[in-house]
Each structure stands twice: as C-alpha cells, then as structure tokens.
C-alpha cells in the first residue's frame, strides 16, 4: 500500500467489515456501506487528481496494478499465444499472439510483469532479453503478412541488464525492432499501461499512435537512476521524477503522446473493469481510424511523426 492510499485502505477495511456483518445477517448496513463508498470515491478523486510525479511513478509500479494477463482477460477474446523467436528461446517477459477486441482481429504484443514473487521470477519483472524483442518482431511481421493491426502494451522497468542479454545482442535486438517498426506495413497502436522504461519500452513502442494510461509513466531513465547520476543521490528520485517530465500529462504537453486513457479515481488497480472499459473505447476508436488509412500514407505519416520530435525551433 502506498502512503497516499492510507485513507482509502482504512475505508476498504471498514466497508469489508460491514459487508461481512451484513452477510452474517447481523443487520442491514447497506446504507452505511454506500455512504462510506461514496466518501471513499471522493477521497480517491481528490488524492488522484493531484498526484505528484513521484506518486505517479508509484502508482504506475503498483504491485496490484493490472498486468498484461489481466488486460487480456478483461479486454480480448480468442487470445492465441504464439511462442518463441525461432532462434534462441521463448522470453516470458514479452508475450504476444492473435487476439480479438470486440470484432476486430489483431496482433497483441506486450511486456508481462508478475504480481507476486513467483510470477515476477518467471516473468523477470517484465524485463525482456533479446529473444523477447526478436519474438515480438517475428509476430509483427506475421501481422504485416496477414494485414492485421499490431497493438503493443508497454509495461517494463527496462530491458534486462544482464550478461546473457548483452552477449546475445540486447542493443542490436532493440535497434532492429525500432527500425523495422518504423516501416512495418500495418497499423501499430501503442498503449503504455504502467511503466515505460526507456529502450526496453521503445523496443516494442514505435507506432502510429501512442496512448498512455492516465497514471502510467514513460521515461528515458528511471528516476532512481537519473537521481544517482545527476543528483549523485538515489534518494532524490522524486526530484528526478519531476524534472524528467515522465507523466502522461507532461508527455501530452510535449506532444510525445497522442491521447491519455482515463483511469477511475483511485487508479486502475481499484477498478480494473471500469479501466478496461475506457481502454476498449479508446483502442477501438483508434483501430477504426488507423485501419482506414492506406498503408503507404500510414508509413509516411509515421516517419513524419518521429522526424519532427526534437526538431530545433
């Protein structure tokens, strides 16, 4: 639980107690429960309207925040996971496959974090190795071949900084994905759901439209890493988080993100179904729009979109 969530969790407990009592037939507490819930919504709204960048980082990394597997269950049907890079192995930190959103078939690719220690060991905390990026590219090429749009869900602290990953060419794998995505002949829709960690995020993050969840972050370096280099003090992460302009709102202002997907008060982890509903609406709207654009035009636009980032005034 995060510091600024304390009031909310006290109310959670109180509501749970009353619900239990109600169920045991002690008395009818429904009026009081509704009262507390309303109060809780109010607090959540107030607290979450005013998160600092560092608090946003904590929400984006919240241990209860839905991960890709959750989103697949909440949003997509007929998911067929496709495994392996056909070269070295199958990275569990990036998963992908065919999926259907309402009646739209697409290729879904994303980082997979865990929600407990075991899952995180299996998923390497969502930190992919080269074979993960190469699997992702293989699936994107399939999507191109069969004229399906690609949807990428981004949620990673970064590419895995390990000896094996370097030996197998982490830099080359990411670079090649970025290059190939810039000219992939099918629409690419990117949604940053949690943590957008630097090159590890961009390795599956180049697209026609970049969306970001309201409380997601996207940064060139972790606030902790930036603080330890530029502030020479890892504890100044909150200062670094503010300076890096890594929130969805800041990145909208910088025009690096095209649209923010709103989250319910209290964040995605307090109401995953409402969050999924707002994701669905936004994804469908953009898929509808992007699939109508002729591919050659799409690729020219994609080039122009990136070419103008960081252009001198």
């Amino acid at each position: 639980m995060l510091d600024f969530e304390k009031d909310l969790s006290v109310l959670d407990q109180r509501i749970d107690e009353l619900k239990q009592l109600s169920e045991q037939g002690e008395a009818d507490f429904s009026a009081e429960i509704e009262n507390l819930a309303a109060k809780q919504r109010q607090i959540a709204k107030r607290v979450y309207a005013d998160l600092t960048p560092w608090q946003t980082v904590q929400v984006a990394r919240h241990p209860q925040r839905p991960v890709l597997r959750d989103w697949i269950g909440l949003l997509f049907s007929d998911f067929i996971e496709l495994h392996g890079d056909r070269c070295f192995g199958d990275d569990a930190a990036i998963i992908g496959g065919f999926a259907t959103l309402e009646n739209r078939r697409l290729m879904l690719i994303g980082h997979q974090k865990g929600k407990n220690v075991d899952e995180n060991m299996e998923r390497n905390f969502g930190m992919a190795r080269p074979e993960g990026y190469r699997k992702a590219l293989r699936l994107m090429k399939l999507a191109e071949k069969f004229s399906l749009p690609v949807v990428c869900f981004i949620d990673t602290p970064g590419a895995y900084p390990g000896m094996d990953a370097e030996a197998r060419g982490q830099a080359e794998a990411i670079a090649n994905n970025i290059l190939e995505m810039s000219t992939l002949k099918t629409p690419i829709l990117v949604l940053v759901t949690g943590e957008g960690g630097s090159g590890g995020a961009l390795g599956i993050g180049v697209g026609d439209t970049i969306l970001m969840m309201q409380h997601a972050i996207y940064s060139v370096i972790s606030p902790e890493g930036c603080a330890s280099i530029l502030w020479r003090d890892g504890n100044r992460a909150s200062d670094a988080a503010a300076a890096l302009k890594l929130t969805a709102a800041s990145l909208m202002e910088l025009r690096l993100v095209d649209e923010i997907v709103p989250e319910p008060p209290g964040g995605a982890h307090r109401n995953d179904e409402a969050t999924a509903a707002s994701i669905r609406t936004v994804l469908l709207e953009h898929l509808k729009r992007l699939t109508r654009i002729p591919v050659s035009k799409l690729i020219t636009r994609r080039f122009d979109k990136y070419a103008k980032i960081g252009q001198p005034l």
């Binding site: 370097e166 060419g169 982490q170 670079a175 995505m181 090159g199 003090d233 980032i309 960081g310 001198p312």
Partner: protein, 278 residues
C-alpha cells in the same frame, strides 16, 4: 622524471610546444609526440586507441577540402527546461559548446573518401559525452536523409554514452527518429557503414549504430547496451575484463571487422567500392 611526469594521460595540448612526449593512458609508455600524431593517437606499444575529436576523425577519413557541413548552426534545445542539483542543462550545453567549439555532439555533412562521395556523421564524445539529444538526432537524420536524397552511401562514426537524460523522452525518441532515417537508406539499397568507437553504449548502440549494413569497430572500444555497474548490481557478480569490448562483440556475432585506425579509411573505401559506389 619530473619533466614528463606532469603529463597524466594522452591528448596533449598541441599549443604547448614543450610537450615532446605523450603518455599512453593504458600502458603508461611515453611516446614521442610526433609518433603519436603519426599513429593518429594510437599507442605503438599496446595498441590503445585514444579517443578522437570529430574534427580529427574527419581529417582522418575525408579528403582534404572536400567536406561540406550540414546543420552547422543546430544547437541543443531544452524541451524540459531541465535542471538538476548542479545546475541547468542550458548551462551545461553552453559549457560543452565553449569547450569543444561545436554546437552539438555530432559533426554532419558530405564529402569525398578517396574520391568517393559519401554522407558522413561523426560523433564527438567531448560534447556532453556524445549523448543523443533532439538536435543530435536531428543531425543524424539530416545525414541519412541527405544520403537518401542524393543516392549516396552513409557512414556514421559513433562515440556516445547513450541518451541525453536532460531531454527526457525527447532524447529517447531520437532512437526511433534516427532508425526511421536508416530504414529509408535500406529501402533505397544505399549502404550504411556504422563505425563504433570508444564508447558506443546505451541508446546509440540500441539504435543507428547497430543497424548498419556493415559494423566496424576500433580495437578495444567499449560497446554495449547496459552499463557495466548496472549489470554487476543486477547479476551480483563481477564481469570479465573483456566484456562489452569490440572483440567480445565480434566473437558474439555483432561486428564485421575490427579495424586499426590507420587502416580505417582504406577499409571504408574498399567496402564502398564493393557496394558499387563511385
């Protein structure tokens, strides 16, 4: 020993005429300045390749008088109005300009290499560690676009610690911007030769430096994605000494040729000839 022990490392100031020797920062041998210059800052004893400035590299590779610079006046932007505990990014960029006489961490343009026309971008590590900012990416893209537009080959000499944190996500997006430029060279069957010099790491290694048709590297150059310290902290063990060297990368299949600096120009020329450039 006093008269030369003052020199701590290589790269002497040429204006100080009394510097007759240079001390190699790897093997600590004392090298005659004349010989040092002749070897283009390569130690004749241990083959240490000291870093070159972009201008020095240009003089090494491009025929005298043939270079036309692109984007000379492009300077770093400050999209985040970034400041940390030690001052503002704007001040740091200004200090880098004063120190190097360059406006950005890359020298871009076109010229002739043994008479062959080529577009070329050369990074300079002295300018904010060769970091990849918005204007750095702009000049790389300018170079690839010039090559694409004029049907020229493209050479990129990298020297970079990676992304420029002070520009936040604008910096990260330069990886996509520059690779989009490289993709256009591929579409036109124009060769890209990536020359990786010490160091080529982080966001530069994970973008245009690693998507060339040919990957050349200087002996001993540090090349890799993640930093050594970060990896050691993650895996909680010491890394071997040769980890992330040019030789290590070649052994693992990511470098075509490791090339002596004095032979770099002639190798580039031969490759361009094989690619049908004239």
């Amino acid at each position: 020993m006093g008269w030369f022990s003052k020199k701590k490392k290589a790269s002497p100031d040429p204006t100080k005429s009394k510097d007759v020797f240079v001390q190699c920062s790897r093997c600590h041998a004392h090298i005659f300045l004349e010989e040092w210059k002749e070897q283009v800052k390569v130690c004749p004893r241990c083959n240490f390749h000291d870093r070159l400035s972009a201008r020095e590299r240009l003089d090494l590779l491009i025929d005298a008088g043939s270079f036309h610079e692109l984007g000379k006046d492009i300077r770093p932007g400050d999209p985040l109005l970034f400041a940390d505990a030690r001052g503002s990014y704007a001040e740091k960029a200004e200090a880098a300009r004063a120190k190097t006489g360059m406006n950005e961490a890359v020298l871009a343009g076109h010229g002739r290499l043994n008479k062959l026309h080529t577009a070329i971008a050369i990074m300079d590590f002295r300018f904010l560690g060769g970091s990849l900012g918005g204007s750095t990416g702009e000049k790389i893209l300018m170079t690839t676009e010039y090559a694409a537009g004029h049907k020229l080959p493209c050479i990129i000499v990298s020297a970079s610690g990676g992304a420029r944190m002070h520009e936040g996500m604008v910096s990260l997006m330069q990886m996509a911007k520059t690779c989009a430029g490289v993709a256009r060279l591929r579409q036109r069957n124009l060769p890209l030769i990536s020359v990786m010099t010490d160091p080529t790491t982080g966001g530069v290694s994970a973008s245009y430096a690693m998507v060339g048709d040919f990957h050349l590297a200087e002996p001993g150059a540090l090349i890799g994605f993640a930093g050594r310290r970060v990896i050691e902290q993650t895996i909680k063990q010491k890394l071997p000494d040769d980890f992330q060297t040019a030789e290590y990368l070649q052994e693992h299949g990511f470098i075509d040729c490791i090339v002596q600096r004095t032979e770099l120009k002639s190798l580039l020329h031969s490759l361009l000839v094989y690619c049908g450039c004239s």
